[in-house]
């Protein structure tokens, strides 16, 4: 991967490494200045070796999770990169005719090739230019009766292959590409396997001109020119002359490939530059000038600017940069610039421009632009390798992102564990720390001491965590490889980059160190007397200084660096500890001064120095804000100030349509955060009220805290759209998922811990009946309840992990609807087949009858025909002016009257049942049905109508299912396809559900009567797709193979729906397994937490255990007590996690179900049982050892131990 969270990996790794080094450096410096503290800290580590090991293990888990997520992302990214590199080989830039085959002719003659050669002659970036013919044609091996209807046939110009020769045979030797005679062919490994062909065999190529035979002279790897394309790997290489003759294309080519110096991996910038240079060379300057002049009229400029202002340059997508903005900027110039030319070759930008022109409504202007637009580009130049690598990059970082989001729950749990470990470590050393404080050590020094010790653990933990993360990711990727199986077109391999390792190590260390420092800060607030007496204290409340003092502190920090300087100067009488702060203060002040100067003269803006200077100001502000917070904190805690703050926050999250103008900013996080604050405020006020009324503290606390917990629980568990009537539909990101999960679990644990006595009562009643267990139960409950903070934290960790596992288990089972009901996706047809449009089938039944008995028409209950045509479409009565990409699926009567696809929306004027709607479309060419994704609100796919390049309709509300009134759309052929002036109006009377025809992989399909084929193009369009419904119960996969063989002369490729569903399912399962394994790492954290707590408990309670033994507790009873303590937390945590997970899973399901018909909500009880069993059993196993240790303690030994 090259980017993570939009930041370059190199930069991220650099920043993190620098940050880590400086943090460690500062700590080291501080440590060396006061070595006593360092000694005190470091000598603790070997004192209890087992405990230190345990701490490191507890600390390393966050790093492990980060490392695994990154390594999995790297592996996915690198696997796709390898696939891309294999497929494109040495080709870096590809030049093709911009005209699509259906509407024109995408072949060109040798003069174009010469022009490319002239352009690149002497260019050191280029090491090869070769013209090719690439066609997809059927090939068969008559000897074995095996066919491949979609073979990628490549005609190579043996005279100009320099730079493209990296094609090797199966032994690894370079293939001799010069020696391909007219009757010979080289085939790749994939095709050889398909055809069961060997060197020396004869294979037959089926072309429109007839069949021709070739002897296979060599079998080569699926790479480079023999690498196929992204979809099809099976390839055959022929001499260019041979293929030109077969296709009747003497002297013509359909692709020119350019190789950039450097083999397979080249400088990406060079590739991009070269592609741009070549593009400029193949722009029709005259057409460009005409276009420029036409656009540079005030009315068009105004229209473009308005469009730009409105959409913000809607061209934003992963690959379309904001070229519209560039186009508009360049139009300001007096002459055509290169930038204008490049911007105008962007098809999306052109689409927007023509939309704007349409809006202006001047037919003469529109007409004058059509010609230059269609003639603008002679050859379309694409940096094809970079394009593929970009996709690899995006997919890789998306995968890492998904893993990071789910993993972040585990990381949070990991951090809680670190906190827990340190709180317990501090508890164990309370007396020691009390004495250290008593002899005069400052609180700050205690923080330092703990931080030093923590940093040593953190470094060890980060290193160990990184190694373990690598091991875990190797295992997970192996699971994935095992599940995916090996396929020719995609090989999944393990890969991890050095940057990822650096990032994981540093991020892990950073997070750990921050948590350690925070924990150290908390534990340093001990009460010396309480500590020395060894009285239990989980947390001692911070003594709050009086308001006046707080105000003074806050005001003093207005001075920032100056205060720092004065403070440290005042302390100069002390032996040490003033020079460094003074130096820091002076440095800080200088930076601030510099920054003020920089604002006056803003030319140092982007330098690293400037960044550091800005950091100085940010630090100042942060310190000041913190002090102000400390100033108002006691008032905040009283509750009432939270009311206005929470209200303001919640209101500012409203959608502008519903909220207060100028305040509402459409932000779900703000709204939910504000509401949570309101709930807390009310809870605190209730407590105050009860206090006034004279209630005791206990009921005060219980009522108010339970109110807060339950309030939050109810609020966060509401369906996602429950409050839309109030707030409007709010936009939110992944942070909401994280926020809701954490809030829910926190609320549930809050309620449980503040009502623990109820649970205790229930448990005692349940188990207490078993007489001999009663003393055990008593103690097993007393300890966790006495250490509520610790227990609550452990419970929260455990619940969070189970919660994540539960949600994932539910989500991964949502998609199974297709498996149960394949007709949802197939419409009742078993086989989808596509033929070569050049080789149309006139009479399907005739071909079947002539198949020599292999197939007959009676094998099928329905055989339908369709044609797929790329068009552009827009909604007739919509503000959206731009025509966007869509696809017409023109279907014959058989298809229209046979399919049983479900409809989510229908116009009752044409009928109520789907069959009636389809029949209406069959009868009236003016009607259409659209695919579900055209009206989808895309809650989970990102994007909204009007955004991006794909046709979407806003006139049909995807949420309001059922009857609607037909909506008009306008359709036209894409620009530059020689069919200008055609524009068709249709009425959409039905919407299919999201699963329907999903294997056609359309992003915007419009289903119509075949009459459209004669209207949309000036050339006749033949049917090229066929759907078959099998009459009997024959095996559909076998039938698909037979169809391919029977229709070989038409280049038919056929797929059985069943096969697709199975493969889909296999891939999903593979991903799910990988994911579950990854989430399982989180479970490890939860289980480890229980282990840590148990181990600590044994150490802490030694004396108590001794006393209990003296009282007559048997060893076994102590053991059961420990197991019970863990068991209660594990079971309670599982219950909370499962309950909340199911709740949120249900909400997610409902949100999806609003868009997608037929999704089923299933609680996967099997998975849940396994999760709970694993969680509980492992927790208990983890407690067995400490429990045994505890039970083995002899009373005298324990009582002597002080």
């Amino acid at each position: 991967m090259e980017k993570l969270f939009g930041i370059e990996m190199d930069v991220l790794a650099g920043i993190l490494a620098a940050g880590t080094v400086s943090v460690i450096g500062v700590i080291l410096l501080l440590a060396l200045r006061n070595r006593v503290l360092l000694k005190l800290a470091v000598r603790n580590i070997p004192r209890r070796k087992a405990q230190s090991v345990l701490i490191v293990v507890g600390l390393m888990l966050s790093t492990t999770i980060i490392m695994s997520a990154l390594a999995i992302g790297d592996s996915v990214s690198s696997s796709i990169r390898t696939t891309v590199l294999d497929a494109v080989g040495e080709t870096d830039v590809q030049l093709e005719s911009p005209i699509e085959a259906r509407f024109g002719d995408n072949y060109f003659d040798a003069s174009m090739v010469d022009r490319v050669r002239d352009e690149t002659a002497g260019d050191s970036r280029v090491d090869g230019v070769t013209p090719l013919i690439r066609e997809t044609l059927p090939v068969l091996n008559e000897a074995t009766d095996k066919t491949n209807a979609g073979t990628f046939v490549v005609g190579i110009d043996t005279g100009s292959l320099d730079g493209f020769r990296e094609i090797r045979d199966l032994d690894g030797n370079l293939a001799d590409l010069n020696a391909v005679d007219p009757d010979e062919a080289i085939i790749n490994k994939a095709l050889a396997e398909d055809l069961e062909a060997e060197a020396g065999d004869t294979v037959t190529l089926v072309a429109p001109s007839g069949r021709t035979e070739y002897t296979v002279i060599e079998i080569v790897e699926n790479k480079g020119l023999a690498g196929g394309d992204g979809e099809t790997r099976s390839s055959m290489l022929l001499d260019i002359g041979t293929i030109q003759e077969v296709l009747h294309r003497a002297g013509q080519y359909n692709s020119i490939e350019v190789s950039v110096t450097g083999g397979r991996r080249v400088d990406e910038q060079d590739s991009d530059d070269l592609a741009e240079d070549l593009q400029l060379a193949f722009i029709n300057r005259e057409a460009a000038q005409t276009l420029f002049d036409a656009l540079k009229t005030p009315v068009v400029m105004e229209g473009l600017q308005a469009e730009l202002d409105e959409s913000g340059g809607a061209a934003a997508g992963p690959f379309a940069s904001d070229t519209l903005e560039e186009l508009v900027t360049e139009l300001e110039n007096d002459e055509v610039t290169d930038e204008f030319l490049i911007a105008s070759t962007n098809t999306l930008t052109l689409a927007i421009v023509s939309g704007v022109i349409d809006e202006i409504g001047d037919p003469r202007l529109a007409q004058s632009l059509l010609l230059p637009m269609s003639q603008l580009v002679e050859l379309q130049s694409t940096a094809i390798k970079n394009f593929g690598l970009d996709i690899a990059e995006i997919v890789g970082s998306q995968i890492t992102l998904i893993f990071s989001i789910f993993g972040s729950f585990s990381i949070i749990v990991g951090l809680l564990l670190i906190f827990l470990v340190f709180v317990m470590l501090a508890a164990a050393r309370t007396t020691e720390m009390g004495i250290i404080r008593a002899v005069g050590t400052k609180r700050r020094m205690l923080v330092q001491m703990f931080t030093y010790e923590g940093i040593v653990y953190s470094i060890g933990a980060a290193a160990l965590g990184t190694v373990l993360g690598l091991i875990a990711s190797v295992a997970l990727v192996q699971i994935m490889i095992g599940a995916l199986g090996s396929e020719d077109d995609f090989t999944f391999t393990y890969n991890v980059t050095l940057q990822s390792i650096v990032i994981a190590f540093c991020a892990g260390l950073f997070l750990t160190a921050i948590t350690v420092a925070f924990s150290a800060y908390r534990v340093s607030k001990l009460n010396i007397v309480v500590a020395i007496r060894g009285l239990g204290q989980e947390f001692v409340k911070d003594e709050t200084p009086v308001a006046g003092k707080r105000l003074r502190t806050a005001l003093r920090w207005l001075g920032g660096p100056i205060t720092q300087i004065i403070d440290s100067w005042r302390k100069r009488r002390a032996r040490f500890g003033w020079k460094l702060p003074l130096a820091i203060g002076i440095g800080w002040l200088l930076m601030v001064v510099q920054n003020v100067a920089a604002i006056a003269a803003p030319d140092v803006e982007d330098s690293v120095v400037a960044q550091a200077i800005t950091a100085a100001i940010v630090y100042w502000l942060a310190v000041f804000v913190w002090k102000v917070y400390k100033l108002v904190q006691p008032w905040l805690a009283s509750g009432w100030p939270l009311l206005p703050i929470g209200l303001l926050m919640a209101l500012s999250g409203f959608h502008p349509d519903k909220g207060i103008e100028g305040l509402a900013s459409d932000n779900a996080a703000l709204f939910t955060g504000g509401t949570t604050m309101l709930i807390i405020a009310v809870g605190l006020l209730v407590r105050r009220l009860m206090d006034r009324r004279g209630y005791r503290e206990e009921p005060q606390k219980r009522v108010s805290m339970t109110f807060i917990g339950l309030g939050m629980l109810i609020f966060w568990a509401l369906p996602f759209d429950a409050l839309d009537w109030l707030t409007g539909e709010l936009s939110s990101g992944v942070e909401m998922f994280l926020l809701s999960g954490v809030s829910l679990v926190a609320a549930a644990v809050w309620v449980v811990m503040h009502n623990a006595d109820v649970i205790v009562w229930v448990v005692s009643k349940l188990i207490g009946g078993f007489g001999s267990l009663r003393p055990v139960v008593k103690m097993a409950i007393a300890y966790p309840m006495a250490a509520r903070f610790r227990t609550g934290l452990t419970l929260a960790m455990f619940s969070l992990v189970i919660f994540t596992l539960m949600i994932f288990a539910i989500l991964s089972n949502l998609g199974n609807a297709i498996e149960d009901e394949p007709d949802l996706v197939s419409g009742g047809f078993n086989i989808r087949a596509e033929i070569d449009p050049e080789l149309p089938i006139g009479d399907i039944d005739g071909v079947l009858a002539a198949s020599g008995g292999r197939l007959s028409a009676s094998d099928f209950s329905a055989i339908s025909s369709q044609a797929l045509v790329q068009v552009e479409a827009r909604e007739s009565d919509s503000d959206e002016l731009v025509f966007k990409g869509a696809r017409i699926i023109a279907s014959d009567d058989v298809w229209l009257n046979t399919n049983n696809f479900k409809l989510t929306h229908w116009d009752p004027a044409y009928g109520d049942a789907p069959a009636e709607i389809w029949a209406a479309v069959a009868a009236d060419p003016g009607l259409a049905v659209v695919a579900g994704n055209i009206v989808s609100s895309d809650d989970f796919g990102g994007g909204e109508p009007g955004f991006g390049t794909t046709f979407r309709m806003s006139g049909i509300d995807s949420d309001l299912k059922g009857e609607f009134e037909g909506v008009g759309i306008t359709i036209r052929p894409p620009i530059g396809q020689g069919s200008s002036g055609i524009s068709l109006d249709r009425t959409v009377i039905g919407v299919m559900d999201e699963f329907a025809d999903a294997f056609e992989l359309g992003s915007a399909d419009i289903y119509m009567n075949p009459a459209v084929l004669n209207e949309i193009s000036k050339r006749p369009i033949e049917f090229s797709n066929h759907k078959f419904q099998i009459a009997g119960d024959q095996d559909s996969e076998e039938m698909a193979r037979l169809l391919e063989t029977v229709f070989i002369d038409h280049g038919m490729t056929a797929r059985a729906t069943e096969e697709d569903i199975r493969e889909n399912q296999a891939q999903n399962n593979a991903f799910n397994q990988l994911f579950q394994g990854f989430i399982g790492l989180g479970l490890l954290v939860g289980v480890a937490a229980l282990g840590v707590v148990s181990f600590r408990a044994v150490v802490e309670r030694r004396q108590s255990i001794g006393m209990m033994r003296a009282l007559g507790y048997k060893g076994r009873m102590i053991q059961i007590q420990f197991l019970m303590e863990s068991g209660v937390v594990a079971i309670l945590g599982s219950a909370i996690g499962i309950g909340l997970g199911a709740l949120i899973g249900w909400n997610i399901f409902n949100a999806i179900n609003a868009d997608v018909e037929g999704v089923k909500f299933v609680i996967p009880w099997m998975n849940v049982t396994i999760i709970v069993l694993v969680a509980v059993v492992f927790s208990l196993l983890n407690t067995v050892l400490p429990a045994r240790q505890a039970s083995a303690i002899t009373p005298t030994e324990a009582l002597r131990y002080e």
Partner: protein, 243 residues
């Protein structure tokens, strides 16, 4: 009250501790008896083996040689479980550091041995309150140990030790952490209980005051009993004259 039949009898008991290379003979061929209903003080300088003697005789610790029998039962022949049961039903312990369970209230601490002995919750509660009242803490039943003073904590410990009306109460420096007033009150309480209930008390102590209140004082030095007193002849006055 006091019987002539020994309830505790130790014959030739030896116990050795090994700490790295140092071998400490904590008990060296110790023999002595305690009569039923007797209150015995074991005294001696630090490191003389007093606490070890108590631990070994009460069955909290194992012995290397010799035999200890309690009410005629040889501890050596009892399993750990059986010893635990025996402790729960027939022994009570009071330690210098009180050793209350910090997470339980005073009443719950006292309840624990009662529940262990199989009493119903209600009965356990009543008995616990009764014992706490006996030691003068009837108004502190719901307090956690941290909320009690040292003297009060030791009283809770005594109440706990007495909960099951054990035949033997072992005390390891029961007044060691207390000021003289509190120590005196505790000792008064112990002697009163000894007199009223006829329970046997074995107290390890440094304090001559404590020793003076016992029926008999056993003195130890370097793991050996140097003066056994005489159960029949030794009176409190004669012990106090020793001090």
């Amino acid at each position: 009250m006091r019987s002539v039949e020994p309830i505790i009898s130790a014959i030739g008991v030896s116990k050795t501790y090994r700490s790295r290379d140092v071998i400490v003979n904590a008990l060296n061929d110790v023999s002595f008896e305690v009569m039923r209903g007797e209150m015995v003080a074991v005294m001696g300088p630090s490191g003389s083996g007093k606490t070890t003697l108590l631990n070994c005789m009460s069955g909290l610790d194992s012995i290397d040689a010799g035999d200890v029998s309690i009410a005629g039962q040889l501890l050596r022949t009892m399993s750990d479980d059986k010893l635990s049961d025996y402790r729960a039903s027939a022994m009570g312990f009071v330690f210098q550091a009180y050793n209350l369970l910090p997470v339980l209230t005073a009443q719950e601490n006292v309840e624990l041995p009662l529940i262990l002995a199989g009493n119903a919750q209600k009965i356990a509660r009543e008995k616990a309150v009764e014992k706490l009242e006996l030691v003068g803490l009837g108004d502190r039943v719901d307090h956690l140990p941290a909320e009690l003073s040292g003297g009060q904590q030791q009283r809770v410990a005594i109440a706990r030790a007495l909960a099951n009306d054990p035949a033997i109460v072992w005390g390891d420096e029961p007044t060691g952490n207390l000021d003289s007033t509190n120590a005196g009150e505790i000792m008064d309480l112990l002697t009163r209980l000894n007199k009223e209930n006829g329970q046997t008390f074995v107290l390890v102590t440094h304090s001559e005051e404590v020793g003076s209140m016992a029926d008999r004082v056993v003195r130890m030095t370097d793991g050996v009993v140097v003066s056994n007193g005489n159960a029949a002849a030794t009176t409190s006055t004669s012990i106090s004259s020793e001090s």
